[in-house]
Symmetry: C2
Subunit: 358 residues, 2 copies
């Protein structure tokens, strides 16, 4: 285990405490005084109580939302595991900066601040403004043959996420969404799912951005071989080993951001399969992180369902999406904001003079 | 059958044509050029294509949203079918006007215009501003003993909905949500579900706003007796007979609004069990209405699932809500707006210089 990454991770995981149960309870009591049948707001009541437990404040000010898209390339693309060529990662980063991608449209519509973080794209972006420049390497190595990252790269990538989270806190953000862009990264997420949950490669592997049947079969074989190479008969590899050997630079940065965001009591909305894989590593390192997570949606990738069950998270949305970029997380934000607004703004039975149930 | 209501309904049903398939196809073609994997926006792509097919325009201007809450009382409350006393209907109308209810919070947050329509509340609201005054009667009759409405009341209530829809069109609204407030109205919705789908009273009856087990059993018995009284062995009662005998004034107005909204090519977001019962009557009268409907959510009421399946509608949200007022429909609006914004604002592969899948 790498002393650099374990040192930083240890410091953060020790600092994370679960959301406040007294605040959650207080929120539940207030929810039952509002002018609606008991429990009739369903999931929104759970979300409101969770957010009060996380934030431990009464939301005099609106939630301030940040969205972070971490981009990186993957050595495993040499094995033909993606329907899109590797250069799409860098092309999509440029599309984000020109505001042409789905995540740009959604963050503009729902008034969230969007940041694109280059943590490992195989392109030179040095002179391009509007991008957070945190490149650790020009992509990972091919994990079919060697660990995706070195110890130092893993530590650096995690540190990127921690730094970005601390900037979000300084900017006054209280709710963040975490998304990604990286051709090949569903292969990492599937390999991570197998290592974390014990699922077979066949169960944890989907068609990513649109593989045909033959390529899908090849992808399953690659993921099985990757797991065998790095973890052999180990039934419980250490979380940081999973991240280093079969993860990715964006996945490591996302893990770092999720850990630091939980430390700072931010509400963390996770997006799809890849973001959830990073969250699962964070929870494996510090179980209290789970209480800070809201699963924005459940994607079409079969491994996502496995990971959500593993994390005991229920998705806010199920819209059969499989796009990434944070899109599913941002779409859930208006629902989450609705829960908080209902909690803070509805009249009570007493204040409104409405009769209660018999 | 009442000549008044059949005449008006016949005129409208003849005027309703299905959404445009060429526009839907055109939308599908454009969706496949946008910078995302094919089909990866899932349900949002279906929604965007449906809305283009309905509106037959390219959305140079944002969607303008109206929310209509129809309120009325129900004679069946004499049978103890609700957890709340009858006067809660009028108390909640006052709560709506003072902006204290859940629907007020949600329409303010999501920037939709809210109108409350008194179509049959058992209270005198004559001097109260901010309410659309369309009272047909002070509630329905007890449908356990006689038809809930007379022919004339049914015709008047439907006409209220038609008038409100035409006002929405004149106000420039392009998407409407339809909700309700009426203590006792899940009993009507359950009786309507049985008559429309052939479901048993036990299968179509839930706990409404929170009945205990004993009261729930009594409610099932009431609904079974109501169905037997009005429809006896008739396996396919006429839709307007169902509405008149076991519906309600707000349900009739909602049916009228849905019919007229479809005629005028508005996007119609339906809320929970009661709104869907009204929509099911509208579809029974004019099958083309189905193409204008988006099911905002699926509520906890078991009959709602039956009706959504009957209408072949898939809910946008599943949040275990059972509040009514239009809340589930308004919560779906940011998702629906997202679909349209993605359709109109995303870059294409060509314009963004992004490589396509192999």
């Amino acid at each position: 285990m790498n002393p650099l990454s374990t040192h930083q991770v240890d410091r953060i995981t020790r600092a994370i405490t679960p959301p406040s149960e007294p605040w959650r309870q207080k929120a539940r009591v207030r929810l039952d005084t509002l002018t609606k049948p008991l429990g009739s707001l369903g999931r929104l009541e759970d979300i409101a109580a969770q957010i009060l437990a996380i934030r431990q404040e009464t939301f005099a000010e609106p939630i301030r939302k940040g969205v972070y898209v971490f981009a990186a390339d993957h050595g495993i693309t040499a094995e033909g595991v993606s329907a899109y060529p590797r250069e799409v990662t860098s092309q999509m980063v440029l599309n984000f900066l020109r505001k042409g991608a789905a995540i740009n449209v959604l963050t503009a519509l729902h008034r969230a601040e969007l940041q694109i973080v280059d943590v490992g794209v195989d392109a030179d972006f040095d002179t391009i403004p509007g991008l957070l420049h945190h490149k650790v390497a020009k992509g990972t190595r091919n994990m079919l043959h060697e660990p995706a990252m070195s110890d130092e790269q893993l530590a650096e990538a995690i540190a990127v996420g921690v730094e970005v989270a601390e900037d979000a806190v300084r900017a006054g953000q209280t709710m963040i969404a975490i998304g990604e862009m990286g051709i090949g990264n569903t292969t990492s997420a599937s390999a991570m799912t197998c290592a974390l949950t014990g699922a077979t490669a066949a169960a944890a592997t989907g068609r990513g951005t649109g593989l045909n049947l033959e390529a899908h079969t090849r992808k399953i074989d690659v993921i099985e071989a990757v797991g065998h190479k790095h973890f052999g008969r180990s039934s419980r590899p250490a979380p940081l080993d999973i991240l280093r050997c079969v993860g990715g630079l964006e996945l490591a940065a996302m893990t770092g951001m999720i850990l630091a965001a939980a430390e700072h009591r931010l509400v963390i909305v996770i997006d799809g399969f890849i973001a959830t894989a990073a969250a699962a590593i964070a929870v494996a390192l510090a179980p209290a992180v789970q209480g800070y997570l809201i699963a924005g949606h459940q994607s079409e990738e079969p491994g996502h369902k496995l990971l959500l069950e593993h994390l005991n998270l229920s998705p806010v949305l199920m819209l059969n999406m499989r796009l990434g970029e944070g899109t599913g997380a941002v779409l859930a934000m208006p629902i989450i904001e609705s829960a908080v607004a209902l909690y803070t703004q509805m009249a009570t039975f007493t204040s409104a003079g409405v009769s209660e149930a018999s």
